[in-house]
Symmetry: D2
Subunit: 292 residues, 4 copies
């Protein structure tokens, strides 16, 4: 199996690094920057999307948003026009269900197959091959990708035969996290007004029902107000929850908890905190209750 990898941001680069040497790999990034390191390790650096796709069995994309994915896929000399029939496009970024559905149909019209395979985890986890992958698409096609996923992730979840199912799972998982952060923000602000030390409440939570990374990591950030230790920004959180709410709008599912934390993120961003960690929604909650 020969592979193309398009999109070498922090995440894409870490993932491509896992593949180089294991597969015949071509890489491409709009700006050349990070490609060199992969070239040193044996990848060929393509000079265009079309060049990257030429004769490949699989092209992986790891792009920042729907606009980039759609442009690279459907634009002139894009993936759709450059891939051969029978080939796979594995979209591993976080995308809207609508964009994934549009590309699913577009590839189908060219006898190509789209797989949506967003990942769970951050760049440092990607570098060690310990991500999770949530794959959506025809079972046979997902099976063909398993050797790829196996290098990147410790576990692959097959969400369903429609690629959009994988988008829904990824967005929903992030959503559950956003809700947990918001809930912690509200709870910390309440107990604070009753003179409870933040760290005491943190201990109660993670000692019991909430002894999980979501609460340990974000509870810790909130208890110490270290919002400048940024894993995922408020701006990215907003983009993400907007995708989730759009998925709800398409499927006619009200998501009231999503509304709540979206409003917190808007508040934080309105106060100039868009580049802080998205746990900063706890500070916006403090502000709303007159305590920040």
């Amino acid at each position: 199996m020969n592979v193309a990898f398009i999109g070498l941001g922090r995440m894409g680069h870490a993932m491509a690094s896992r593949l180089v040497g294991e597969f015949d790999l071509v890489v491409f990034n709009r700006t050349p920057g990070r490609a060199q390191q992969l070239a040193d390790a044996g990848a060929r650096v393509a000079d265009s999307v079309a060049d990257a796709c030429q004769g490949r069995d699989v092209v992986i994309t790891m792009l920042a948003d729907d606009a980039a994915l759609t442009a690279v896929t459907l634009g002139a000399a894009g993936i759709r026009d450059s891939l051969t029939a029978g080939a796979l496009h594995v979209a591993m970024g976080t995308h809207s269900v609508s964009a994934i559905r549009e590309l699913t149909a577009a590839h189908r019209g060219h006898e190509q197959t789209l797989i949506a395979a967003p990942v769970l985890g951050r760049p440092d986890v990607a570098a060690t091959g310990k991500l999770g992958v949530v794959a959506g698409g025809p079972s046979e096609a997902v099976r063909r990708c398993e050797p790829l996923f196996g290098l990147i992730a410790t576990r692959t979840f097959h969400a369903g035969t429609e690629p959009a199912s994988a988008s829904a799972v990824k967005l929903a998982n992030n959503f559950v996290l956003g809700c947990a952060i918001e809930a912690m923000g509200e709870a910390f602000s309440l107990v604070g007004k009753y003179d409870v030390p933040a760290r005491l409440f943190y201990d109660v939570m993670v000692d019991g029902l909430f002894s999980a990374p979501a609460y340990r990591v974000y509870g810790d950030i909130i208890a110490d107000e270290k919002y400048d230790r940024v894993g995922f920004t408020a701006e990215l959180g907003l983009k993400d929850v907007n995708l989730m709410l759009a998925a709800g709008s398409v499927a006619r599912v009200p998501l009231p908890s999503g509304n709540v934390y979206r409003d917190r993120l808007l508040g934080a961003i309105a106060h100039g905190e868009g580049e802080l960690d998205w746990a900063v929604m706890a500070r916006d909650q403090q502000r709303a209750s007159g305590a920040a």
Copy 2:
């Protein structure tokens, strides 16, 4: 130290069972029912609140709600009038911050001390002495109770020197749980509309960020829709979140995520599901999205 224990519901009985034999114990319940078993084990069964309090160093209450606690404490021949000066009243039920503050002042006026010490965990956990205790009150008084708490709980958290602090922590911990259940309900309903099997989404959650009892237990109930396996009813959940929202109102803290799940509980109860497990809010979410 001699002890009185008032309130022998399922939880109170399990807790009192841990103390009998270890302390000179008097027990009292409005209806005699469960007292016999404790009497067989060596407790004396009082025939009134006043009788129970007579000459005791500590009286523990484990009552269902504020009304019961206030009546038993401030009513005629109640705890306040029956306890000697210097004695402790340890209120271990889940109560409003307002009721706790009122009783704190009432006891203070009689040179008695109130400790609020709500517990974390359910009757089966109580029976094995593995609850958590969140204690609020003067440090010295809390210290005096440690031998008691040590028989009931594996860990005691000292929330602060004001009893109401402990109420706030207990309510906030339940609140974080309610928010998590609501978030799961929303997420499951969303992915369901995209043909994702509930169990698949469950696996994604608990395999990663949410590998904690809150998500395992309640995710499991929701995925299998086994709302009749009741741990904590929707009606109790509503009572609880109303206490939390009242705590927010008193302290001027908006709790928008609490509003969301309170509305879900109201919807479930309005549909006759008040005696099902409070995870039934996930079904109300299904209904709201036309899928139940």
Copy 3:
């Protein structure tokens, strides 16, 4: 028909002034202050609740909250114990459905009849006899009160034969107003970010779909930010919406728009604005969007 009037705050005094001279009137207030003016006009000033109720056909109460109403009615030497069988108690304050239901039953047990008859309008309107009255209670009893209502109000609405129905109508009418103020606050904050003058948006609203007092009065306050021209404080607004949400909780009706504006009021009060006009929720909205 002889009448007692209990509760001579600004509103009660204005209403009682409409009755003096028209009926044999006894008045009572916890603190004597305002009674003198009514005495000068011919009313007898009672020296206790019991004295006021003695031999009266009708006793009207205009009290600030549930606690006052319940104490005056059910307390020792209160209205229930002092009124003769067959007499009416007309509660004209804004009260919870729960308190009204409790008093309905209490009076029934003494062969007395409770009518809930909250009023629409402010003290200056009351002084001119142009309030609205929403009456709940048995039709025959409401009919007996019509001569009274006719002096106070231009229109009486009969909400139903249960007194609590009138409470529900009054709370719901205030609620619709609170929602309208909140909606305006949100709308003004949005158009302001797009450089639209507040007064322009005001004109669009009241020129068209919203040419009503609610929008003229409160739109005007918001457009000019004159929150210190106080008609109804944020603190009272909070008390009021809490009564409405409690009515929803009792009847299992989610009121999500009520949650929204309650949170705005909490935010405003948390920022020290509790004694400003409740339209100050628009400023809290400004704050939430980083514009105040």
Copy 4:
């Protein structure tokens, strides 16, 4: 001044009918249908967008959504490419602030001027020339359009010199209406549970604070549950509130009341009520409270 009018749906046709005979008018619609009547009255029917724009001083568009507006304006042989420098494009549909900003810049690059001039009112009002117009754009350009607006509307509001300001005003005005409908839905469902006849509550509202068309028209629909008398569908309401929430997202303004009624619309549509009048959100509220 010679004029082109593009988009002859119900609203566009009614508006164009007011202009024909008063101006040298060319009309165009994607599907020919309604053009004939205008041709009979003296308009020329163009056979393409480019043909319609040829040599015109002003081109008016009245299109259903952003996608149509953007395609007709920026597409091949579209308005931008066909209008001469110095000409005006007056976009009178309801559009997102983002689309309007994009087109503002696009026209500016061709020395053309965009005016956003959404209208207030429905087709029957348009036919009598009694709409409101909210115009955004350079003052001089708006002034040039006054003769046009004067035939369509009784009043023109100048929202600001940026076209997007007019979009914001139009969306915000609809938003205030959506909030009012939602508030009524909640209030009616509450009073209904207390046995209050819907018509009684309607009378209380419109007799007092809410004596305005918004409450008369929609209160009437809700009281009689005549959701099949459709003025504006739930689907259109959803599209509209999504535009408003997007405007809030762009400007970092949380709009919690908008979230509430969007969720109601989603619920209604999920239950197959998308083509009923958007007042059907009151029925979704009934459902949520177990009363429908």
